[in-house]
Symmetry: C2
Subunit: 233 residues, 2 copies
Amino acid sequence: MPALSPIQPFGRLMAMSTAGERGTRERILEVAEDFLGERGYDGTRLHLIAQRVGIQKASLFHYFPSKEELYRAVVADSLGETEHIVRRVLEADLNPFDKVRQLLEAYVDIVAAHPQRTKILLRQSLGDVPSGYEPHVDSHRLLDAVVAFVTEYQRRHVFASIDALALVLGVIGMVAFLFTSAPVLGTAWDGDPLGARGVERVKRHVVEVVQRCLAVEAQPYATAAVRAVGGGD
Amino acid sequence: MPALSPIQPFGRLMAMSTAGERGTRERILEVAEDFLGERGYDGTRLHLIAQRVGIQKASLFHYFPSKEELYRAVVADSLGETEHIVRRVLEADLNPFDKVRQLLEAYVDIVAAHPQRTKILLRQSLGDVPSGYEPHVDSHRLLDAVVAFVTEYQRRHVFASIDALALVLGVIGMVAFLFTSAPVLGTAWDGDPLGARGVERVKRHVVEVVQRCLAVEAQPYATAAVRAVGGGD
DNA sequence: GTCTATATAGGGATAGAC
DNA sequence: GTCTATCCCTATATAGAC
């Protein structure tokens, strides 16, 4: 039988059994990710995971010692891929505004491709984790890297001096909420936000917002603009 | 756990029992709001609510027929106050940019004053509701009203023609995430985001972001807005 | 209206055969 | 590695005394 490493950075890609079939363990992770995103940790029922995978509930415990360990495995998996992709863009050789664009587009793509993961991370920030679970330091590292990138170009006056940490955190929340809320709140949203057109729409919007926020020289427009147009009715 | 807000919105004021003392029912709602925000619907334990209120678990069922009904009562309460405040600003007689500012400041204040409510609403958008629960139409109405306000001034070319629905939804997500994530993710965030300074920081940031987004002629790389100001009228 | 005691269900986890 | 059967606990909810 194949060696199943307990921790798998991008495990799903390579942890195939020698028999060539797709690992049951990987299938469990997929299904669990779905349920954890959709229903949260407390709302996730192991027997439903087993049912969808097509095994008995007890068999789950052959692969994961507990519900909490299953949760940790799912989270580690999710974070790993996101970090990998974001870092690659971050380290690319691009001019800063293009890098911002690519960073955002890549991020939106990830979120759109794995909405359940995003929900899990959102839930984490809400404190929806197994009791006694401490949030990952990994995500901090990634966050810090992005903030550092922004700050560096602010120092050089290429980006406007907007609150960098707030901007980055805000964008994460913005993207996450756009995708998760649209099915519920967005009656006016045209079509499925996770569909091709929806993703493009989110992408376009987020890029525009952030580029406006980072554009230098665009500060005192607020009241000025409205007066210029003669607004205020 | 932090003390709960002394402010009593709407229903809680009048739903006194004939016994005449300060409503136990209201106290239950307060505590339940706390737990529902902090732990989610599935994660909320009735016996803990009872414990904190200082009654027996069974007594809860004297006031609410079920956990789900308790949840509905909490949500109705929360939504009511938010809608009331936002609408008041929305209908005020202000120039559009000032209205945007006040709208945002009021919203941030509400969220900061009742972080648990925000979490509950965020959780709703994640689908974290009692099974068989259908999301509120009320919030749609409010959302539509805000979007209509933005759209109207876009039509008049006072606001830039950015995706209005995405902007509004995005801001909601942004604010919510800033408050909920900072305790978890924001190691670099200076102090408690829900403290006075944290709230001001969020407020300042959100106002800046949105005003940049709505400013006409402030395309990335462009300096049109600055020229407009510099040139005077 | 609040309590004690209990009913009932369901969930996570284990034992052990195959 | 997967199954059946079951343990054990906790959670919602009810019954009924005071």
